[in-house]
């Protein structure tokens, strides 16, 4: 079961072509708890290669979970998709697929996502349409212009250099927030996410899940502390 969970989570982590440090850390802790640390690299390789037979086997193993554990597994999948702060189109597709494997309805997925981020599960983007690319470009431009014109009005103190700016954006994304979020919004998001990711909730799913939740919880806590300057 642990190997199947790690494989599916690795697939989510690697679907953008690379596995970030945060994602790797989460996978390592799950693999270490499941005594499959040695095979983690092999599992990640399988995930990167996307072999259908292996992924199918993992899905069939996950189907053996009971209703409660299915929801927790889906929560782990959403957490892994949001690990780097951005839900890409490919990650969205995989999360939807895992929800179907675990017999979770769109409403249940949406409810879970709201619980974790405070927002609805985004509608699937269409990278095969010109309109989506045009919209993406416009969003990017308006974000740039807002950043230049409205630095003084930000609730969260602005960064002094480019590197901290990226760090701050990732911290906000970890809490499911936009860059314009106020301190109050950061606090609310932290309270909500800390409740959702608390390791105690995952005790019944096994030690691997508890370990993964601990990693997510620590990441949220660190992001919150950096943002509010505690």
């Amino acid at each position: 079961m642990a190997a199947a969970m790690v494989l599916m989570l690795s697939w989510i982590a690697s679907c953008d072509g690379k596995i970030s440090e945060e994602e790797l850390e989460g996978l390592r802790s799950i693999a270490a708890t499941g005594r499959s640390e040695a095979s983690l690299n092999a599992v990640i390789e399988i995930a990167l290669s996307g072999r259908i037979a292996d992924l199918q086997l993992a899905c069939e193993v996950l189907r053996e979970l009971d209703a409660k554990h299915r929801r927790l597994m889906l929560q782990m999948a959403v957490g892994m998709a949001l690990e780097d702060g951005v839900l890409t189109t490919a990650e969205g597709h995989i999360v939807r697929f895992i929800a179907d494997v675990l017999s979770q309805s769109p409403a249940e997925l949406d409810s879970l996502f709201r619980e974790m981020t405070g927002e609805a599960f985004p509608a699937p983007a269409d990278p095969s349409s010109v309109e989506w690319w045009v919209g993406r470009q416009q969003r990017s431009r308006s974000r740039e212009s807002n950043r230049e014109s409205d630095d003084s009005t930000r609730a969260v103190p602005p960064p002094r250099t480019a590197a901290p700016d990226m760090r701050r954006l990732r911290d906000l994304a970890a809490l499911g927030l936009d860059e314009d979020a106020s301190v109050e919004q950061v606090r609310d998001a932290y309270r909500r996410m800390a409740k959702v990711h608390h390791p105690d909730r995952f005790a019944s799913l096994g030690s691997e899940a508890v370990k993964a939740a601990e990693v997510s919880f620590r990441r949220i806590q660190a992001a919150y502390e950096r943002l509010v300057g505690a």
Binding site: C15, D16, G17, G50, I52, L55, Q56, C59, E60, T88, T89, A90, H93, I94, R96, F97, A99, D100, V101, Q104, S105, P106, L109, A123, P124, D126, P127, S128, S129, V130, W133
Partner: protein, 247 residues
């Protein structure tokens, strides 16, 4: 999400820019919307990387959904990835083909010619089978049923021996053709011979004569002598005469 490669006529994903441009120019008239999207995305390296990566994931998910019986699962239906759906019964791992469209709104697909022919063949076969079934049922209804040789209902099936028909007697008998009785034959023959010799009698007289003749009596029409002579032949006595001679 659409499979732009297939929509412009390429069989698979490629990094060959020249091949993409050739495909775009060859399908520019037939499929303008997809060609516009493909030109915008596949000829721009940054966009192509993002599109290709997402396409690979969606392609795998399509195959996994087919293998796991999740092609019609609710979360998948919300994604509008029809181009990447895989037929579950298909031995091939390729998604179903997408043909470029000449007109119409984006996102609709037309079945290819083989699928269309297959549908027609299936329709014709179904119609023929239905017609044969109806004809068979009608002919059974017309046939008189016998009380013997009826089949057991499936719920009452017993041992294999009881599945056999109770006897070699056919279950249904064909309608019997009317068998001419001997009297009718004689009547016809008498009438014919009387006409030949120019004697005209009414039918009731003929009936009485024929009946007597069959019963073996002497010439029922002694006045004419025609019947005995012509029916039994010259010099041949009717059965009644032999019996009378013995007595």
């Amino acid at each position: 999400m659409k499979d732009l490669y297939r929509r412009i006529g390429l069989s698979s994903q490629t990094d060959d820019r020249a091949a993409i441009e050739r495909a775009l120019s060859s399908s520019s008239n037939s499929n303008p919307a997809s060609v516009r999207a493909a030109r915008h995305i596949l000829l721009d390296s940054d966009r192509k990387v993002v599109y290709d990566r997402t396409r690979e994931i969606v392609l795998r998910i399509g195959q996994l959904r087919a293998n796991l019986g999740l092609s019609r699962a609710p979360n998948g239906l919300a994604t509008d990835c029809g181009d990447f759906e895989v037929c579950p019964s298909s031995p091939s791992r390729q998604p179903r083909a997408v043909r470029p469209r000449s007109n119409g709104p984006q996102g609709q697909r037309r079945p290819d010619s083989s699928r269309r022919i297959g549908r027609w063949v299936a329709l014709v076969i179904t119609t023929v089978v239905l017609c044969l079934g109806i004809i068979g049922a009608l002919s059974k209804d017309r046939s008189p049923r016998t009380s013997r040789g009826t089949f057991s209902s499936p719920s009452s099936l017993g041992t294999p021996a009881s599945w056999q028909q109770p006897s070699a007697t056919p279950i249904y008998t064909t309608p019997q053709s009317p068998v001419e009785s001997r009297a009718d034959k004689v009547r016809k023959l008498v009438k014919k011979r009387l006409e030949r010799v120019g004697i005209v009698l009414d039918s009731s007289t003929i009936d009485v004569a024929v009946e007597k003749l069959i019963q073996g009596r002497a010439d029922p029409l002694p006045a004419t002598g025609v019947l005995t002579r012509n029916f039994y032949g010259e010099g041949v006595s009717p059965p009644g005469d032999h019996d009378a001679a013995r007595q």
